[in-house]
């Protein structure tokens, strides 16, 4: 076991996989050389594995997306880094039209074993171009998995599973968690499944489902409410697509009171889909309307510190929403 930040756990996972399989390559803007990415996730990888396996690309996200597809087709396991999740948009055509459909359109003869890494999320004063949650843009594309870890342990296990997967996996990393979160992480070679949600706290009064930063708010809020006599079941959705319906529905049925939390805008988010699934599968176990707590339906995470705070779901907002539901 070793104490690691969320960022270090991701780097460790990539390093282990690059050592294990020489077909694993990683690239992106400022990813190679001594810089190792704007957040330092790939720091040291070029030195360790050479410039052929860890290298820079031009500032052309469409090319990062397409290069990964091509490398996948000729036998590599490509990891393409988008410097910020906001920058994925120019590459959407490659991700959706090419990567996610490769298996389908070749009847499984060809695969695109790719990990697209994307730092997402706000609360870092990144403004319009460095703070967004873009997972919903690519959500619901059969063939394209989306996962996001909410802890260092999961970060290492998920990135390793993603690299080994023959499906293209969109790997979202919450950048505010990069250095905020530390955990004793196993140095063993373990993976975390790409299609399972995780019940991270058990309780029988309310069920809270979230992922990323807000999940950590929910865990803290659950401790606060515990002192008030309410026990919350907290579920890390973590596999965003396809969703682990079984675990989510089971957790919803357990308490009948469901709070869905996301940093994204309220409407049309991944929580909207989870809400629909629970409404379909668990009607007769529901004891309260399904609640969503999310950012406002405003175009973007704002730059102004006051507005950013207003936009963001924080621990206090989660605590209040959980308490309200518990008392319902």
């Amino acid at each position: 076991m070793a104490m690691m930040t969320y960022l270090e756990a991701i780097r460790k996972g990539i390093e282990e996989e690059m050592a294990r399989d020489e077909n694993v390559v990683i690239f992106g803007e400022d990813v190679g050389g001594v810089k190792g990415g704007v957040f330092g996730v790939t720091k040291g990888l070029a030195e360790q594995f050479g410039d052929d396996r860890c290298f820079n690309t031009p500032l052309t996200e469409g090319q990062i997306g397409g290069l990964a597809v091509g490398l996948g087709l000729v036998g590599y396991r490509a990891i393409g880094e988008f410097q910020f999740a906001d920058y994925i948009l120019p590459a959407v055509n490659q991700l959706i039209s090419e990567a996610s459909r490769m298996r389908y359109r070749t009847k499984g003869d060809w695969t695109a074993p790719i990990v697209y890494r994307a730092p997402y999320g706000g609360g870092v004063r990144g403004g319009l171009y460095h703070s967004q949650s873009t997972e919903k843009v690519l959500f619901g594309q059969p063939g394209l998995r989306i996962v996001t870890p909410s802890s260092p342990h999961d970060a290492k296990g998920l990135i390793k599973a993603a690299i080994r997967s023959d499906d293209p996996v969109l790997f979202y990393e919450h950048k505010r968690l990069y250095r905020l979160l530390k955990e004793d992480v196993s140095e063993e070679d373990y993976v975390v499944p790409l299609d399972k949600a995780n019940v991270v706290r058990e309780g029988d009064d309310i069920t809270v489902i979230g992922y990323g930063m807000v999940l950590n708010h929910a865990l803290k809020a659950a401790e606060t409410l515990s002192k008030e006599g309410y026990e919350a079941e907290v579920v890390d959705a973590r596999s965003l697509y396809p969703l682990d319906k079984e675990t989510l529905v089971k957790a919803a049925k357990k308490t009948g009171k469901v709070l869905l939390v996301t940093e994204d805008n309220l409407e049309g988010s991944i929580m909207s889909e989870i809400s629909a699934i629970i409404a379909e599968e668990a009607l007769f176990d529901l004891d309260a309307p399904i609640r969503r707590l999310a950012g406002p339906d405003s175009p973007s995470m704002p730059y102004s510190i006051a507005l950013e705070r207003e936009f963001l779901v924080n621990e206090e907002k989660v605590t209040n929403a959980m308490r309200e539901l518990a008392e319902f």
């Binding site: 720091k43 029988d204 009948g256 007769f284 176990d285 309260a288 006051a306």
Partner: protein
């Protein structure tokens, strides 16, 4: 003169910590505003930090090469003038200071909002008064969530007796789960216990008042003169089993008709001799049991049980047969029915029926059945939908044999003895196709008997 603090400035998105690599000034130095005072290092960049103030460097508050959070006080400056900090520049550090101002203003706004809501309350008075409306509260108390309704139905809870602990007295799922059903059951029994008293007393006023209470707690509607008879143990066991079968097993039904003319002929020719020789009557039933057993050998999927996600294929073929007495229906089992001849089956059926009528069936006689054959034809039924005997996967209803005209292949008609075979299947295990094939085999087996078939 005043002491000002310079904090570790914001160095870029995602950077939450930074350290000082080198101080560019020393304690006691005089500096001007915007003079670089230190080099800060985060994992993204090395940045020179300018001073926000002119004055004397009083004290370094953090050590070199030690990571500190953004916003940590870094250095104390003794400024020349009090108003110095008012003169805002445009460095990164200034943004941080601006941040604090915004916080402060926000706090002020919050305080204002808390102090001032009186005026707002008047404008939204109408809204407030409707939400405070008592009738609405009692309405919401009587509105139940799907979970509450389901649990109360499953456990037979009268929700009017449950006290709600949710908002506005709403009954929550946990309230229903925590409700003591026993305390209510005694209330539900009351009407039937009261009944004899009531008919003796015949006090109309009391009757009137007792009525609604009874209707609310009893499962069925009763009117004056109805007799309430408690079910005996066997009836209760039957009831329990039937509810289990019909709620747990998704039933599907099929019916075929079979030509059993040859069996009727065979029986007519042999029944008298058989009775004399064997001491038991020769009924049609063993012929059907035989045909079913033979078909089960060919279609093992019918001889199965659903067990919590697994399908158990039974090795033995143990046929449950329904035996009705005046009071009850018993279902004893012909163990390993594939080992019997028609004669053997006749005797086994006759033995089990005898035990049932005498009330002497033991548990072992009733256990282990893997499929049921039910002789509904014995009381004249021509079509029925049997409830499967849990945990079996199928029940076959053998209906009554009736003479009918059926077309022959050469375009004429003939009189034939026809029988309907009605099969109920557990649709979790068995699909219609498999059931249809099974019935087809049973039908063929029945058709294979001739008036010269051997009974032994």
């Amino acid at each position: 003169m005043s002491i000002k603090i310079i904090e570790m400035p914001h160095l870029g998105e995602s950077v939450t910590e930074a350290s000082i690599a080198v101080w560019l000034v020393s304690e006691g130095d005089r500096i001007e505003k915007y003079d670089p005072i230190a080099e800060a290092v985060s994992d993204k960049v090395t940045t020179e930090i300018p001073s926000n103030y002119s004055g004397i460097v009083k004290e370094f508050l953090i050590d070199i090469d030690t990571d500190v959070e953004i916003g940590t006080p870094m250095v104390k400056i003794q400024t020349d003038e009090e108003g110095e900090d008012e003169a805002a520049g445009s460095s990164e550090v200034e943004i941080e200071t601006g941040e604090e101002f915004t916080d402060h203003i926000n706090e002020e706004i919050d305080k204002e909002a808390e102090r001032e809501p009186m005026e707002r309350q008047t404008t939204s008075d109408a809204k407030q008064s409707t939400s405070k409306n008592i009738q609405k509260d009692s309405d919401s108390a009587a509105r139940y969530s799907p979970a509450v309704v389901r649990i109360s139905q499953e456990r037979g809870i009268d929700l009017s007796q449950v006290e709600g602990t949710g908002k506005h007295g709403r009954i929550t799922r946990k309230d229903v789960l925590a409700f003591d059903v026993d305390s209510q059951q005694s209330a539900a029994q009351q009407p039937s216990e009261m009944k004899p008293n009531r008919s003796e007393e015949t006090v109309p006023a009391k009757d009137e008042s007792a009525r609604p209470q009874k209707a609310a707690s009893a499962a069925s509607v009763q009117s004056n003169g109805d007799e309430v008879v408690p079910a005996d143990g066997i009836r209760k066991a039957i009831a329990k089993k039937m509810v289990q079968s019909s709620t747990e097993i998704p039933h599907a039904w099929l019916m075929v008709e079979a030509d059993v003319t040859n069996i009727v002929k065979l029986r007519e020719q042999t029944k008298t001799a058989f009775k004399e020789q064997e001491g038991v009557s020769l009924s049609y039933f063993p012929f059907f049991v035989k045909a079913v057993v033979q078909a089960l050998k060919k279609h093992p999927v019918i001889n199965t049980s659903w067990d919590n996600g697994n399908i158990v294929y039974h090795k033995d073929i143990n046929i449950s047969v329904a035996v009705a007495t005046d009071e009850h229906l018993f279902v004893p089992v012909i163990q390993q029915a594939d080992r019997y001849s028609l004669n053997g089956l006749s005797k086994e059926v006759s033995r089990l029926a005898g035990l049932a009528r005498q009330g002497k069936l033991t548990t072992s006689d009733m256990q282990g059945g893997t499929m049921t054959v039910n002789n509904t034809g014995s009381f004249g039924s021509v079509q029925s939908m049997g409830i499967i005997n849990h945990p079996q996967a199928a029940i076959l209803q053998v209906e009554s044999i009736n003479k009918r005209f059926v077309p022959t292949e050469d375009g004429g008609f003939k009189a034939a003895d026809m029988v309907n075979l009605c099969l109920s299947i557990d649709h979790r295990i068995i699909d219609g196709l498999q059931a249809g094939r099974f019935l087809q085999t049973v039908k063929e087996n029945l058709g294979r008997f001739s008036d010269e078939s051997d009974l032994y």
